[in-house]
């Protein structure tokens, strides 16, 4: 670490940056606490804690701007075990999360086009295209992405990430750690669990070498505890959607999930989720829903359509339809019980082989059925995401079973999570209107 880098980091991040962001948050919270600040026909004001979220995310990316030379940087896939990287002091970048930021800020297409211009097909995942476009253009809405010293790719969400990370490895010429999680068509076989555990051990050794430090078991346990607590709190936050009216919608979860994905294992994440949960519980007590009038409740399947999240939310709200849960955000909470800080590596193996995307499509249907009951849902919206085959293949059968066997209205919407050129809003709106009619709103 050079003295200059360290000074610049502390000046810009620890001193000026943190201070400015904290002031911004306090100001935002003061506004949100003021009577009459909120004007929306169908939605109640967002939780005041939202201002804290903005601070957390901004701090994370601000840190990334100045991190080079002060801390090792790893780029990781969203489902990867990261506790060991945190314990070794890595700063983490999640290209998928960054992709979502680009989607929300509506610059995803622009990045995709840069990648396409360089030869990458429009038929590859739009997160990957957004990321490749960001690297090639050097432009990002978060200021700057630090270059990685290490890449960590876990195939528990898809195989696509491995091809994507091979592109990154070729581009950055840095080591790529692969954590290959055999897909579970049914119960996890013993040899698959052993395999994942061995790979995590091996990943730790490689990450130690790159970082030039050794793992302290105590530190790993502590990070795993924080990770466990954050996942548990996230689960409880999502469960608040079971209340009637639901104080928090899946649209809110899409935004508030950022820390559970990219800051799992941080004390700040635990603190933030604890505060958010308390605020939501208070709303349940007061009977304050996210919608001013909740008429029907719906479940979402697959990734959000980032570039129209708000537009979509407003459309549903205008008809009194509350999107109370999503299989996507649920994926970051459902495995909370598998994380055991006293056996971090074995439990990591068990936990990280089991995410929804690493299990059969029948299992996903089962998860939906459970959520339909738990959240007392009236209908299901399945986003058929052109970019995400592992999530989308199987949805046609799932939809037909929901409709025919369970009698639950289910709509399959063709779109893409980050490439707006795939979505025809008029067509989707028409289909949604028809869906609302079926729901009776």
């Amino acid at each position: 670490m050079s003295l200059r880098d360290s000074l610049m980091y502390h000046l810009n991040v620890s001193l000026l940056g943190h201070g400015a962001l904290r002031i911004q948050r306090i100001k935002a919270q003061m506004t949100m606490n003021r009577q009459g600040w909120w004007h929306h026909e169908h939605l109640n004001p967002p939780p005041v804690t939202s201002a804290w979220l903005k601070e957390l995310i901004s701090r994370h990316y601000l840190k990334g701007r100045w991190i080079t030379g002060t801390q090792k940087v790893a780029w990781v896939t969203s489902g990867a075990p990261i506790e060991f990287l945190k314990a070794l002091g890595y700063y983490l970048i999640y290209p998928e999360n960054h992709g979502a930021v680009c989607g929300i800020r509506r610059v995803g297409d622009e990045k995709c086009k840069v990648a396409e211009h360089a030869g990458w097909s429009r038929d590859i995942c739009s997160y990957a295209r957004t990321d490749i476009g960001t690297i090639l253009s050097g432009k990002t809405p978060v200021g700057k992405l630090p270059k990685p010293d290490l890449l960590v790719c876990c195939t528990n969400i898809c195989q696509t990430v491995l091809y994507w990370y091979q592109v990154l490895a070729q581009q950055f010429k840095v080591p790529l750690i692969l954590i290959d999680t055999p897909f579970l068509y049914s119960k996890a076989p013993e040899h698959a669990l052993d395999f994942v555990e061995k790979q995590i051990q091996y990943a730790i050794e490689t990450a130690e070498k790159v970082a030039g430090v050794s793992m302290e078991p105590k530190r790993l346990r502590h990070v795993t505890e924080l990770s466990h607590d954050a996942v548990d709190l996230w689960n409880r936050i999502m469960h608040t959607g079971r209340a009637r009216p639901a104080p928090f919608l899946a649209f809110d979860e899409f935004i508030h999930m950022a820390p559970i994905v990219e800051m799992r294992g941080d004390q700040a994440t635990v603190d933030y989720y604890r505060a958010l949960l308390a605020e939501l519980e208070a709303r349940i007590k007061n009977g304050t829903g996210a919608l001013k009038e909740e008429k029907k409740r719906v479940l979402w399947d697959n990734l959000p359509i980032w570039f129209v999240v708000r537009k979509f939310g407003n459309l549903l709200a205008s008809r009194g339809v509350a999107l109370v849960a999503s299989t996507y955000t649920n994926a970051w909470g459902e495995l909370a019980d598998l994380i055991d800080p006293h056996h971090p590596i074995e439990s990591m193996a068990k936990c990280y082989i089991h995410p929804i995307l690493n299990r059969g499509t029948g299992q996903k249907l089962q998860t939906m059925k459970t959520m339909i009951e738990d959240y007392e849902v009236d209908g299901v919206l399945l986003h058929s995401d052109r970019s995400c085959k592992p999530y989308s293949i199987g949805q046609m059968d799932q939809q037909s079973i929901l409709l025919k066997q369970l009698g639950i209205p289910a709509l399959l919407l063709e779109a893409d999570h980050n490439d707006s050129r795939v979505l025809s809003w008029e067509q989707s709106e028409n289909r949604l209107q028809a869906f609302f009619e079926v729901l009776g709103v």
Binding site: Q159, Q166, A169, H191, A192, D194, T361, K389
Partner: protein, 364 residues
């Protein structure tokens, strides 16, 4: 150029199996070990499509952005094409085949048992160990169907046969320039490996080698390497013939990337696993761009090829991710590249044919 070998078609071979009471297993792409099936007295018949097969039946289960290999393959199964098979094997080769395996098991649930096989994406010793155990698990599932328990000796002997067939295939490819066959005929021969017994393929390959010329053919104006998934629709091979392009090496997942190296581990499962994971660089095995590029550069240099044609299936992410960096690396080394993107459920478009012809001209 005539067909002196009498290359058996897939249809003929399947009808032979059926008339002789030989059991067979339908296997989807890409990697698995044939010896394991043979030891259970099951003939593997691979399903790379079928090409130009209507995808209508699959449309109720798979979105249109699923690749045509999977859509044709599912349609064929739904239309009853696999009813006579003793089992269906779906190796986990990509997200789409993963989806296919899962849709089969969870929703379609055909009468024919569906078995899956997870192929690891690394080549570390732990990958070999895992894969050996995965093959062992497949062996157990097959035993439930066939009632057989192949001995280690038997497994080794079938592995030996497969190794001989693979080295015969390699020899044929190595001598391609002296074999008086059109690209189309040549591929018909190579693709018999997907449905005939190893012994039969080895004989076909040896006969081909015996019939080859002493000297290199003089009618090959331009030499190329084909990379990609599967050379379908096959008419494009005839377009290559007409354009004076000769394929001098194959780097497709269905042929060249499955010439597995010889291995000699005492444990037959480890031996099979090490052999498959020792295959040439392949997207479905998680190879790095660097390894794939080095391999293609070696091939083009050794075979004095002027160009590489990437014959890709639309929506095939495993291949599409690699192409820009591979093309750039090859072009920098003076090798021309062409990307052909096809939907194997349809005949080759006139546009693709024109691009191929233009590519041939550009090599002149």
């Amino acid at each position: 150029m005539s067909d002196p070998l009498n290359i058996p078609s897939r249809k003929e071979v399947l009808s032979d199996y059926q008339s002789s009471g030989q059991d067979f297993v339908a296997v989807y792409p890409i990697h698995y070990h044939r010896a394991l099936l043979r030891a259970h007295d099951l003939m593997p018949v691979e399903l790379w499509g079928p090409s130009q097969y209507s995808t209508t039946s699959a449309d109720a289960h798979l979105q249109a952005y699923t690749c045509s290999v999977v859509r044709c393959g599912l349609s064929f199964a739904l239309d009853g094409g696999l009813e006579k098979a003793r089992a269906i094997i779906v190796p986990h080769s990509c997200d789409s085949l993963q989806g296919l395996g899962s849709v089969f098991l969870d929703f379609i649930q055909p009468k024919t048992p569906v078995l899956t096989l997870y192929v690891p994406r690394g080549r570390r010793e732990m990958d070999v160990e895992f894969f050996a155990r995965e093959l062992m698990a497949l062996d157990k599932s097959l035993a439930k169907i066939t009632g057989k328990r192949p001995s280690e000796k038997m497994l080794h002997s079938f592995i030996d046969n497969e190794q001989k067939a693979d080295s015969a295939m390699e020899a044929v490819l190595n001598n391609r320039i002296r074999i008086p066959m059109s690209n189309r005929q040549f591929y018909e021969l190579m693709r018999t490996r997907q449905y005939v017994a190893a012994e039969k393929f080895e004989k076909l390959a040896r006969d081909t080698l015996e019939s080859m010329q002493q000297d290199n053919r003089t009618d090959c104006s331009h030499k190329l390497v084909i990379s990609g998934l599967v050379p379908e629709p096959a008419e494009l091979l005839s377009v290559m013939d007409d354009a004076g392009l000769t394929v001098v090496w194959d780097d497709t997942a269905c042929i060249g990337r499955r010439i597995y190296p010889e291995t000699d581990d005492a444990d037959p499962y480890v031996r099979m696993a090490r052999s498959i994971l020792g295959a040439p660089p392949d997207s479905a095995l998680g190879s790095s761009v660097e390894a794939r590029l080095a391999h293609l550069l070696d091939l083009t240099r050794n075979k004095q090829a002027q160009g590489v044609v990437f014959w890709s299936v639309k929506f095939c992410e495993p291949e599409l991710f690699y192409l820009p960096q591979l093309s750039r690396g090859l072009e920098l080394a003076g090798i021309r590249t062409l990307l052909l993107e096809v939907d194997i459920s349809e005949p080759a478009s006139a546009q693709v044919q024109t691009r191929l012809e233009a590519f041939a001209e550009s090599l002149t």
